[in-house]
Symmetry: C2
Subunit: 189 residues, 2 copies
Amino acid sequence: MYSMYEDLQKRLSPKRFTHSLGVAKTAVLLARQYGVDEETAYIAGLAHDCAKELPLPIMQQVVNEAGLLIDPYMLASTALLHGAAGAVVAANRYGIDDEDILEAIRVHTTGKVGMTTLEKIIFLADYIEPSRTYPAVTAIREATKEGLNQGVLAGYNSTISLLIRQNSSIYFKTVLGRNDILQEIMDGR
Amino acid sequence: MYSMYEDLQKRLSPKRFTHSLGVAKTAVLLARQYGVDEETAYIAGLAHDCAKELPLPIMQQVVNEAGLLIDPYMLASTALLHGAAGAVVAANRYGIDDEDILEAIRVHTTGKVGMTTLEKIIFLADYIEPSRTYPAVTAIREATKEGLNQGVLAGYNSTISLLIRQNSSIYFKTVLGRNDILQEIMDGR
């Protein structure tokens, strides 16, 4: 763990490293609250953006060399691809072999249908860690007080709304993930 | 045509009939502007909601008897299913055999990837016909002044934003349709 911490501190921009540490610490708090192993949450949180600052062609090379099947929407976007690339980097460079952690890193930006509690925690911590200051963050923090799923839903909603305001494409799997968490809430799960 | 007009006037609620007539007239104006046959647009506009007031089980029966393959999300929702059911009713009850019209009726609520100009016209006229008064209508009318695709995009965006505010499921094919029209705009088509 020590080596990953130092390596990330050296390789990421100061802002990104502070963010990663914030996600790790927030993930630990959520893990404690929702019965997930705290060290697992910490590692996943710290590592989640390990590929975020790679150029797109390098991200593409990383996932291609790992033999991953990535759809063309994701393959064309650093915003979408850095999770999948990050899971490969976390495994190859930092020796993380816990599949639960790697999957939480992989889906932390897009979300997906049927997220585990750990995956929800990393997804949500990424939105609400203390250094975040974008306009919707207050609403997402408030929603998180109602529950993990409510926080995750608010995160999805803020991203979709932002993409609409920005005239950007909306990744359809993110919408499927949002509908799925909405259904979980409706079902009282 | 006369018989469909009278039949719809008799069978639809006054508000729905006024709306249908508004869509037909707005569709004619857009058809003139964008080089589509005006009578075709009128018929599609008048007929577009012909199944909207049927109960869900009847809509389901209509599409099942027609042998249509409908995904489970659409099959569970009158909001999504009334287009597909309407295309069947338009064909069977009103004898409409123009496949372009039937497809415009089928996709008028959900949208789809690769809409024809007629399909865009009915989709958009449904949002902006004169009797519409919901909050976002002004923005969609304004966007329509910039172009057909801009109006369609604004319509998609208003629906997705409304579904987020309502805590309702977002139909993923609507998101794919929105991304597609956004790409058309970006490409300058």
